[in-house]
């Protein structure tokens, strides 16, 4: 990463759009917490959303909020909590908790709350975006149900800033649960952990989160109950876990457990590979992690796992991809030389790749937005 790159943080969406229209290739950044993701690129300058950091509107009665893209997620949560509400996104927030709403959306990142509430994909109801040629456009709106026009929020979410810059979003909010309680079920047999996790994923418990973790021969299933009466669900959760041979513990002050899960999705200086599989693939993903010496955190019912290597080389990643195919393995945190040695992104089929290139050419015709970073440039 070049340190000489100039950085510009426009004070309005219009100014940002103009900068794109008039300028050359840029690296797009929010809180700059995930610059080590994707193919290594070094555009001459950085375009930052950091000056677009305000919570513009919170309609508590409608459970919606309008937020500028550069607003730190943590600050937004603090403001919403005053009304007993939350934006149900809890990805790792990176150094100094700097992750922004726009950056989380653009990277498609998520945390344990995804089990119940989904991702930004499911929570963003409207978006304003500056496209690569400086067109400032909106899609969606500010109501939670709306099918007018194309859903550009979906297209921009997870596009890693390669179609344009998200400048503002309208999000759906949720009430903060009255109480939370976590069942932590431990064991040292990956098969037992997977069996318990799968059973819980199919039980009508309405868990808020259902995670699994594994490191150095030991692991746990974490199930979080949230609501006005979590005890009954906790009892049933323990019964499932014990039936699978795990040891149960009820944790009231459970936030540190979940913070550890989030932390397991990142590794400064090391390598993190995200595996997207079916939920029944969990035993083979756990076996692969064990064999390759990786620690694992995962969303058990969603088929998503993060494998964390203190040290990994390209062969580790290739071995994972071979072993777990057709599940996809995406390299997230990794030293630049690893991301240069092999494509951090999984391969696209030929027809989808052609379509992807056509989309890129229409939305960023001059290829100025994070050029080279993503799957198709």
């Amino acid at each position: 990463m070049s340190t000489a790159a100039a950085s510009f943080a426009p004070a309005s969406a219009v100014e940002l759009a103009l900068a794109l229209r008039e300028g050359g290739p840029v690296r797009i950044a929010g809180g700059a917490t995930k610059l080590a993701w994707g193919r290594p690129i070094e555009p001459p300058s950085t375009l930052s959303t950091q000056a677009l950091h305000r919570l513009l509107e919170h309609s508590a009665g409608d459970l919606t909020a309008i937020v500028q893209a550069g607003a730190p997620l943590q600050a937004v949560q603090t403001a919403l909590a005053e009304a007993g509400q939350l934006l149900a996104l809890d990805p790792p927030l990176g150094d100094a908790g700097a992750a922004t709403v726009g950056g989380v959306m653009a990277s498609g990142d998520s945390g344990p709350l995804r089990h119940r509430y989904g991702t930004a994909r499911d929570l963003v109801v409207g978006v304003e975006v500056a496209l690569g040629d400086g067109t400032l456009a909106r899609s969606g709106g500010r109501v939670i149900k709306n099918v007018a026009g194309y859903d550009l929020a979906k297209l921009l979410g997870g596009s890693f800033g390669t179609l344009g810059v998200i400048t503002e979003v309208c999000v759906r909010l949720h009430p903060r649960p009255a109480r939370r309680l976590t069942v932590c079920a431990r064991g040292d047999d990956p098969q037992q952990l997977a069996a318990a996790a799968l059973a819980l994923g199919h039980a009508p418990l309405e868990l808020e989160s259902l995670d699994v973790c594994w490191a150095a021969g030991e692991g746990a299933v974490l199930a979080r109950l949230a609501g006005t009466a979590p005890e009954e669900g906790a009892r049933k959760t323990c019964a499932h876990a014990q039936a699978a041979g795990l040891r149960c513990e009820l944790v009231e002050d459970d936030e540190p457990l979940w913070e550890r899960q989030r932390a397991g999705q990142r590794c400064a200086g090391g390598t993190v590979v995200r595996v997207a599989a079916r939920q029944t693939d969990l035993p083979s993903v756990l076996r692969a992690a064990q064999r390759l010496g990786a620690a694992l955190v995962g969303r058990a019912a969603l088929g998503l796992s993060w494998l964390r290597f203190e040290r990994a080389d390209a062969d580790h990643v290739r071995a994972l991809r071979t072993e777990l195919a057709p599940a996809t393995c995406t390299v997230l945190d990794a030293p630049a030389q690893l991301r240069a040695a092999l494509d951090p992104w999984p391969e696209l089929g030929a027809a989808e790749l052609a379509l992807t290139r056509r989309v890129k050419a229409r939305f960023d015709p001059r290829a100025v937005c994070n050029p080279g970073l993503f799957v198709a440039g």
């Binding site: 309609s59 989904g118 099918v147 026009g149 859903d151 009430p175 009954e232 669900g233 995406t330 939305f363």
Partner: protein, 481 residues
Amino acid sequence: MSALARELTRICGSEHVVTHPHALRTYESDGLARYRVPPAVAVLPGSTEEVRRVVRACHEAGVGWVARGSGTGLSGGALPISDGVLLVLSRLRRILDVDLPNQRVVVEPGVTNSEVSHAVAPTHFYPPDPSSQIVCSIGGNVAENSGGAHCFKYGFTTNYVTGLEVVCSDGELVTLGGKALDPPGYDLLGAFVGSEGTLGVATEITLRVAPLPERVRALVAFFGSTRAAGEVVSEIVAAGITPAAIEMMDRLSMRAAELVTGAGAPPAARASLIVELDGPAAECEGRLAEVLALCERAGASEVRVARDEAERALIWKGRKAAFAAMGRITPSYYVQDGVIPRTKLGEVLERIDELAAEHGLEVANVFHAGDGNLHPLVCYDDSRPGEPERAEALAGEILDACLAVGGSITGEHGVGVDKRAHMPRMFGAADLEAFHRLRCAFDPAGLANPGKVMPVPRLCGEVPGPYRAHPLERAGVAERF
């Protein structure tokens, strides 16, 4: 066209190609019967490969086409084009894979919404539940991003589609996603769902299904005014309760439903509220008690809690009968589909009353109150000169009232042909131009469902340049669309 019809016959067999004008009348409209256009030819392919070859043949002939599922849409999204092909997907109705351990079902587009839930019963269900679920097809649900009564808690079609096999307008087959989440690349799957058939046609659909809730409780409460009922909705939400469904009906729609169901609503009631709660038993019962207390405090004249499944079905029968029952009190009606922020409910209902009085017409109101989706039913008599036109004007002004409070012109029925003229009131020229770019990336020749969604059709340039407002446009003299 006759050469193309012969080619379609070679692909699908003569028994699956319709060219006779009388037979084509069957397909001249969808659920919005005000618009009628017979297609030049209708074809019923029997496999993905046949769909691909049909679309390819249309592409080579430069002929536009419209995909149709069960034809229940309410915005004219499946309205044929007179010089084009209607691609009827009702023969593609196999359930290909029921994978309960992974909570996935793979279906062909002609499978009905209800069939998906039946396929995964009794342990799981498919949450999006449009009122037409017994007949409407999953392919149509994907095109329209269908919702339903339970989407306040459970979300819409777009939250449940994890994989698609799509035939693009050049006849290329593209696979987007699958059973796993977070497929690599752009979320083209998310962009496709709700694109109203303008980006291609889905031939195979992978859906997520959910575990059936442990407990379901429903109640109906009657109030002296829609305002009082609306306040209870706000209080329920403010209490941090997320019901599976909250539905409101006003006096006129209650009266119509009563004529069909005879459920015995109190005659003095001016509004009714259906609240359904589901989830773990203890949570569900606790929340039910809270909702009952809120209804009573707001002065509900009567609250009926369903004691069993039969009583719950009766409560829902009243709501689901509302549209069909309108026929008992008006010769014709027009269903509107506006959305408003829930807190504006009282304000917008008063505005609708004023507008109805100005036009000398009656409006019955049925809402998905939890998510602010209004279905005003504008009543009119076809036989009275000028009345259909007044009804249409009133329906348009209701949408303007929704937009004025930050709402949307459509919550679940889609834009289709019916609301495309309203699109410029909700979106600016740059927004529409951005939509157009997506369309051009998928369908540069503009052959997939032409004339839908966008206010005025336009061609795709080879290489899009930066958007520059025309001087006339900047001066407000002309619009680009």
